[in-house]
Amino acid sequence: MNGGGFRNRSPLAAQGGGHGLGFGPNLTPMVDVVMVILIFFMAAASFLGPEWFLRAGLAPAPAQDQAASDWSGALPEVRLRVTLDLQNDRPVASFEGADPRPLDEFLTTFRSAAPGLLAGDRGRTLTIAPTDRVSWDAVILLHEAALEAGFGRVVLE
């Protein structure tokens, strides 16, 4: 490897062998490597993309829910509940009592209508009730849409 990271820098060698005039190890390859590693770290971090998080509440068990429903004079928290299911292998979503619609279509309507309905009230909670067959991706899509629409809290059932 041509002497590795060291070169023959002795004055005698410089006279006879024609090498450079400096003494000590040649740091150029090390600097090269460090720079390459730095650039690679930056590129890798950018390539992998940052991981981030959506906060989700966990709906209380039905028994606790029932106990909490004993009215104590305060107005109960308004909760909207969206059911996620599959129809013909495609995710569908619906508010309670409404007909299920394809998730894409539901999300488009939801994104445009929800901000007006919420009227800036960011204290509202949306409960997502997925069935076991629904993909996690669909749950996250609806969760994201709810946060974008202005819901203050999203709860998973």
Binding site: W52, F53, R55, L141
Partner: protein, 141 residues
């Protein structure tokens, strides 16, 4: 003139000195292998769902409890676990470290049936909310 040749990696014999190039390439290869291995180990080969919004939550000094859900495995802090034991393990950790944050990293392709038992176990253990890991859209471009 000699110094200039050396600085540009050209030897006196008129040949290009390829030693630094080989050094760098070898380092790159080793580094790629190591980083790839470490990243896969850390991320558990989970393809997270992509979102446009989210929060980069700080760990606030204490590492949160991270539960990874894959098609057929559940891991807590990198240790594979039987699904039936998730509740007891989480309850044990929360008893030792009250207020511990919980993060759920689920593969986007799994069905809710894979995640639901984990959420139920967390709920039973007294966890009120979780942080769902996603990947920023465009973060990988």
């Amino acid at each position: 003139m000699r110094a200039g040749w050396h600085a540009r990696g050209v030897s006196e014999e008129g040949r290009v000195n390829v030693t630094p190039l080989i050094d760098v390439v070898m380092c790159l290869i080793v580094f790629y292998l190591m980083v790839g291995h470490l990243v896969l180990q850390r991320r558990g080969e989970i393809d997270l769902a992509e979102t446009r919004i989210g929060e980069s939550l700080p760990s606030e000094g204490v590492d949160p409890l991270t539960i990874s859900v894959n098609a057929d495995t559940i891991e807590i802090d990198g240790v594979e676990l039987d699904p039936q034991r998730v509740g007891s393990v989480v309850a044990g950790r929360l008893a030792r470290e009250p207020g511990l944050g919980v993060r759920v990293r689920a593969d986007r392709a799994v069905t809710y049936s894979a995640v639901s038992p984990v959420l139920s176990a967390l709920r039973d253990a007294g966890v009120g909310h979780v942080e769902l890991a996603t990947r920023q859209i465009g973060g990988g471009e």
